[in-house]
């Protein structure tokens, strides 16, 4: 695990759930650490990201006054934002209620490998099915 000062090595993370059975401490902890890491929190403190440390004015959108909305109406912007927000909360597990989770997956960008944590009733069976080579018809 990095100390949080470099960029996240994970390209993708999904937390699916919830289910009724509580996650054991150790599994929950691993999930928490990954989710916390992706949220940019390590060791209890959020490390300053580039966005936080650059001058605040850089966050300002370029146009001054009321610009022509670069090809997007308020309605289109709302649709795009709502879709983005829905995806964002799924990824962070918040819309699913966070812990307990059933599956956490991550792809390590540098090594190109997938990391999967799986927990829940029927998890082994699910994994077996998912990994079984499909028979060609």
């Amino acid at each position: 695990m990095s100390d949080g000062t470099d960029t996240s090595p994970f390209g993708r993370l999904a937390v699916r759930g919830p289910h009724a059975q509580p996650v054991p401490d150790e599994i929950g902890w691993a999930v928490d650490i990954i989710v916390a890491y992706l949220n940019g929190f390590t060791d209890g403190a959020r490390k300053a990201s580039e966005l936080q440390t650059k001058p605040i004015d850089d966050d300002a959108p370029a146009p001054q006054g009321l610009p022509a909305p670069a090809g997007r109406s308020a309605k289109e912007t709302r649709a795009k934002v709502e879709a983005g927000l829905a995806a964002m909360t799924d990824d962070l597990g918040s819309s699913a209620g966070g812990r307990p989770c059933t599956i956490v997956t991550g792809r390590l960008v540098r090594s190109g490998m997938d990391v999967v944590l799986l927990w829940g009733p029927g998890a082994a069976e699910w994994l077996e099915l998912a990994l079984k080579p499909k028979k060609k018809k």
Binding site: I33, A48, Q52, P69, A74, E76, V81
Partner: protein, 443 residues
């Protein structure tokens, strides 16, 4: 979509700023965009908005999903940090004795050096932990840690060797009164991975010497100034100034003296509040008669101090950043080790026999008195639940919440001066995050 409950909006001339406490980010926009943007977030699609600005506000978490429960997300953040078992942190007291005799000290001190037996037990504890963690952090604390330099160095060497063998990251800091922090000592510390030092200076010479004399009564200001000047290039030095009604007016003069010594740009400075804690009747602070500032009074004084320091070119406190769990006291995997091997959870309780939660000799065992700390729950507190400072404070000082006659001393000053603090940063006197969050401490 909806607005985050942790947004603070403020106008400054032709520009409007939105600060979001959850992400710690601040977004600026032309003033003319403020109303259309707010109306758009509230559901009005007839306004002309800037899509790029809306995207930025989403990135900064100033706009969140309708169903997002930010309080619950913060609770998860708190729990994750509180239970982070990948990091082990120790605050260690090599010497409870101190060469200074400050009348407001909250520790009941007596001469006591960390001896070989305690060192052995401490290394045993670290050995047990190293296989399960990825980092070990140490804060050298007192009393006065440099009075116990011998054990500090020896323990450091052992920690570094063990961490290196186990592939565990190691870093340390020190809170010291600074009187013994000469350049050769600072080099010894730096070689042992001590990166930062906090030293306290309470005012110009005559003020400081009255408040922080040597045990025999002699002043310490001149020596401290010489030491800070000499070690500023060796360690990251932060000068803490403890403020109460007796010295609050003198802080600007201290800053000018430090600047005249060439320290602006070389050290960080920050103000802290003297709080009368009567919880430990054996501590000098129980008899400290000088009136403490109210929390509101301190928040105002802190603001003035920070502005004066920034004007002189010192690195000083920016906006408080989002945090997980506020301190060692409430985190599972962090302990405070006294010079006799006794264990505490809170640095403010060092030297108070009533607050000892266990001993290195037989740690851990059933009956260790951890629960009052590990069950501290800001999310059960109606004030914290509705507080704009919650993401950066997370319930503040648990000890003050439990013991202080004025419970608001637990609170982040961000709660009391939200707009003023944001305005100070956005109006460009300084950027955020320039000073690491200062370590709590008495020295």
């Amino acid at each position: 979509m909806k607005e985050s409950r942790y947004n603070t909006w403020l106008d400054d001339g032709p520009t409007t700023y939105v600060h979001n406490g959850f992400s710690g980010r601040t977004v600026s926009m032309p003033l003319s965009q403020r109303e259309p943007t707010r109306r758009f977030i509230a559901g009005d699609d007839t306004v002309t908005i800037d899509p790029a600005l809306i995207d930025t506000l989403v990135d900064a978490r100033a706009i969140v999903a309708d169903h997002a429960d930010e309080l619950d997300l913060l609770r998860q953040r708190y729990e994750r940090t509180r239970r982070n078992r990948g990091r082990f942190h120790l605050t260690i007291v090599p010497s409870l004795g101190c060469d200074l005799d400050c009348p407001y000290c909250f520790e009941a001190k007596h001469p006591s050096l960390l001896d070989d037996d305690v060192e052995t037990s401490l290394l045993r504890l670290v050995d047990q932990k190293l296989s399960a963690v990825r980092s070990l952090g140490v804060l050298w604390y007192g009393g006065e840690p440099l009075v116990g330099l011998k054990s500090l160095l020896s323990l450091s060497d052992n920690f570094i060797a063990r961490c290196s063998a186990a592939g565990v990251a190691y870093a340390a800091e020190i809170v010291t009164n600074g009187h013994l922090l000469t350049a050769p000592t600072a080099r010894l510390l730096r070689e042992r991975r001590v990166e930062a030092a906090q030293v306290t200076i309470d005012g110009p010479p005559e003020v400081h010497d009255r408040r922080r004399p040597l045990a025999g009564g002699r002043g310490t200001f001149e020596q401290l100034l010489a030491n800070v000047t000499a070690v500023a290039g060796i360690l990251d030095v932060t000068v803490r100034v403890n403020l109460d009604t007796a010295n609050v007016g003198e802080a600007p003069r201290l800053l000018e003296i430090l600047a005249a010594a060439g320290l602006a740009g070389r050290i960080g400075v920050y103000a802290a509040q003297v709080v009368a804690t009567t919880a430990n009747p054996l501590a000098p602070s129980a008899r400290y008669a000088t009136a403490c500032l109210s929390r509101t009074g301190f928040a105002e004084a802190e603001e003035q101090f920070t502005e004066a320091a920034a004007r002189l070119g010192f690195v000083t406190a920016g906006l408080p950043e989002p945090t997980g769990a506020p301190c060692t006291a409430v985190r599972d995997n962090e302990l405070v080790i006294g010079s006799r091997g006794e264990i505490y959870k809170c640095t403010e309780t060092i030297g108070d026999p009533a607050e000892v939660i266990g001993n290195l000799r037989n740690w851990p065992q059933a009956g260790d008195r951890l629960s009052k700390w590990l069950t501290y729950d800001p999310f059960g507190d109606p004030e914290c639940r509705t507080c704009v400072a919650l993401p950066v404070c997370m319930g503040g000082c648990a000890y003050h919440a439990m013991t202080s006659a004025a419970p608001d001393t637990r609170c982040s000053t961000f709660r009391l001066r939200t707009e003023q603090q944001i305005r100070r940063v956005v109006t460009g006197r300084r950027g955020p995050s320039a000073l690491r969050s200062p370590t709590a401490g008495p020295s």
